[in-house]
Point group: C2
Chain length 441, copies 2
């Protein structure tokens, strides 16, 4: 770069979060645990392009989102016809339709990628964030075992992330549909009602009741029944009694209830709380079976960390084929932003993956220390060798980066192994040193 | 999505590569090996926003690249002032300047992210690809040990990727500068000469000679010396003799030579070939010390898989502080595209991470198989449990996805463990099964 360049004040860009090294290290840990968990259930990794054709993302069938279009800087405003994807669901549907003949079904995939929302900058609103999705898609009927599996995968993942006890709040679109049939509220009014009911956990009964009255003119017994239903909560075991007590004879309702009972029966115990929750409706109209949102116990105000459900015909935009699917998604960036905000920005976490720093000493040939570093790395340790410098400077470096162990070579060929947290130090021969560190693995 | 939506023919977008599942699995393996390797040398993960301010990327001091600007789709062409980054170097420099007070120096980071080039669509040209960078930046003098370390890290990484034997072709900017001082070719003409010389490996001596003559009017002894120098090749051991034989007295030349000798002395043996190569110049004018490009033996026509070097004042665009750095980069997407193209698109590689498929049988309670799956997963195995279906269908699924082991439950409580590749099958009790699979880890 030329010296005459004027200085540009570096600044962060609102809505595009960037972590400090110790925070990014924690994000890496989370990404790695999610990948491992998804893989352990046989989900295969998938990555789609960051862009889709603008006509796809802005088409009528797709939920309306704020999107970013791309233009070539050198192209004088010429449109590229490309936009950054706003979620991973539309790209996944397009990928499945495009590669249909080369995929083995049921196709189970995980997809961990950034997504973008072309919103105006605003406090606390992310314009770039990680979404971590799992989906199963079949080219025939998709057994309910997969709905249960998705809940189990996400419960396992959240338990491993160790972010608090998740409460999976599950409902079923057919239970909702059947119940509204029973009330005589038809498909025209239903989406608007569900939209209001969905806010119950956030805004409370009073507010929802007012909206249903004022906006949708619902009153009396109908309003009472809607609010009563939305307030239903129970453990999986209590589901049959709770819902049968409503005495709804609608067939869609009963079929949905039977499905949800089957799914609940397959869930593991001890990983998280699975509950039935009558207020969960999920705004997106492509859901057709179970729907789920997940709160963290004690951090309910944060909102849902994991959501999804079953859908039919997701690929309908691209293909006449019906491919039923089921998927769930974790919004990792938002979750991490919340965890990081809870604690002091500068504390906690190491800012280096190094487990050992080999200190350099003028009296010891550097090449021998490099050889020692290579040997320890081949044992699976993360090791860095510092270039020749004053010992004090090297210790300060290890301290600042949170490197837990230091090896200090001595003139007589021995090594001091120092534990940075306890301050304990042991003098060892090279052989003893290697054996000690091998044992510590 | 509504039923009335017109169908959109799904298509891939030129320059935005997407892999099939077995290919993505291989990319994941590579990404994971790169992360592990970088971490084993104490490099910390870093991720910057996908965008930079357009004024930064399009500013005079930055190498000119085709970039994509973002506009809000709903914003009626209103400019966001943001562009997708075209490499990870400018973002890294901005990040270091922005977070200077909170970083511990020397700051060693790896950064594996997608980058974008706003090029017109063309055969074989990537508009989105993974770049895998490591850099060390100091807030004082940066010891030469780091230049050597970077070469060692990348040699280790490429060896683990197992893509063929890498040949690291190293040169030094001060050796070049000193040599051109000696020839009397000043800083005005030099960049143009280096640009031509840099093409020697690709286009050959004839072509470079012609360009130097026609474009830059270089002839006679000067031209001969430039071509002679560019053709110099040797092992690290041969460097002193080879370059001293040129009898260049220029101080910059001798200082560069001494530096390169020191760096070569620290390199490991057996990981790859490190060679001196007089034709390596690296076009980017911010390099100030070692420069490197890397070919794969037997696949030289593919071009450089890994390149980089030392630079001073990278953050100069943002700060008056001099922060010397050294970095190298692997272009993973291009490398994988080449590897995948070498073999049949539909062969090789498993399209599932599952090691075991537990087949479901109508006579065995599904919940017991789910429990077995959980137990095997807790041992670190990737296991999927198939929903109840005909055995033939389950075997075909495992075969198509390349799942190597199948567990088939029997009515009497025993299990058949079947090796899909050998066809061998063993009948085991549940306890024996778990022990056998534990031992196989």
């Amino acid at each position: 770069m030329s010296d005459e360049t004027r200085l540009i004040k570096p600044r962060s860009i609102s809505g595009f979060p960037e972590w400090l090294p110790h925070e990014k290290e924690e994000e890496e840990r989370c990404l790695s645990l999610l990948r491992e968990t998804f893989r352990s259930f046989g989900y295969t990794p998938l990555e789609t392009a960051s862009v889709e054709l603008t006509e796809v993302l802005a088409s009528k069938g797709v939920e309306e989102k704020e999107i970013y279009d791309l233009i070539r800087h050198q192209g004088e405003g010429e449109e590229s016809g490309l936009s950054l994807h706003f979620d991973l669901t539309v790209p996944f549907a397009r990928y499945v339709a495009l590669n249909y003949g080369q995929l083995a079904f049921p196709f189970k995939r995980y997809q961990i990628q950034k997504v973008w929302r072309g919103e105006r900058p605003a406090q606390g609103r992310f314009r770039e964030f990680y979404q971590c999705d799992i989906d199963v898609v079949a080219n025939g009927p998709l057994p309910l075992e997969y709905d249960a599996e998705l809940l189990e995968v996400m419960a396992t993942a959240l338990a491993r992330l160790d972010v608090g006890r998740p409460v999976f709040m599950v409902n079923h679109r057919r239970i909702l549909d059947g119940f509204y049939n029973h009330l005589g509220i038809g498909p025209e009014l239903r989406p608007a009602v569900l939209l209001e009911v969905d806010k119950l956990e956030k805004t409370g009964r009073e507010s929802v009741a007012r909206q249903l009255q004022d906006k949708l003119s619902l009153t009396g017994e109908t309003l009472e029944q809607i609010l009563h239903f939305a307030a239903l909560r129970c453990d999986p075991d209590g589901l049959p009694d709770l819902l049968r007590a409503l005495e709804v004879k609608d067939e869609v309702f009963l079929a949905g209830l039977a499905e949800l009972e089957s799914i609940f029966a397959l869930l593991p115990t001890g990983l998280g709380d699975f509950t039935y929750n009558g207020s969960i409706t999920r705004g997106l109209n492509y859901y057709t079976g179970i729907i789920c949102e997940t709160l963290i116990q004690g951090a309910e105000s944060f909102g849902s960390v994991c959501s999804g459900g079953r859908y039919e015909g997701l690929t309908r935009l691209f293909s006449n084929q019906e491919l039923p699917g089921c998927g769930m998604s974790i919004g990792l960036t938002r979750l991490l932003a919340w965890l990081f905000a809870k604690r002091d920005k500068n504390t906690g976490g190491r800012s280096s993956p190094s487990e050992i720093l080999i200190a350099a000493m003028p009296s010891v040939p550097h090449s021998e220390l490099l050889l020692l570093g290579r040997e320890l790395r081949s044992m699976g340790l993360n090791v860095e060798v510092f270039p020749p410098a004053k010992l004090k400077k090297q210790l300060a470096y290890a301290d600042r980066k949170g490197i837990p162990g230091i090896i200090i070579p001595n003139d007589d060929g021995s090594f001091d192994l120092k534990d940075m947290s306890s301050g304990q130090q042991a003098r060892l021969t090279r052989e003893e040193l290697v054996v000690r560190l091998q044992a510590g693995r």
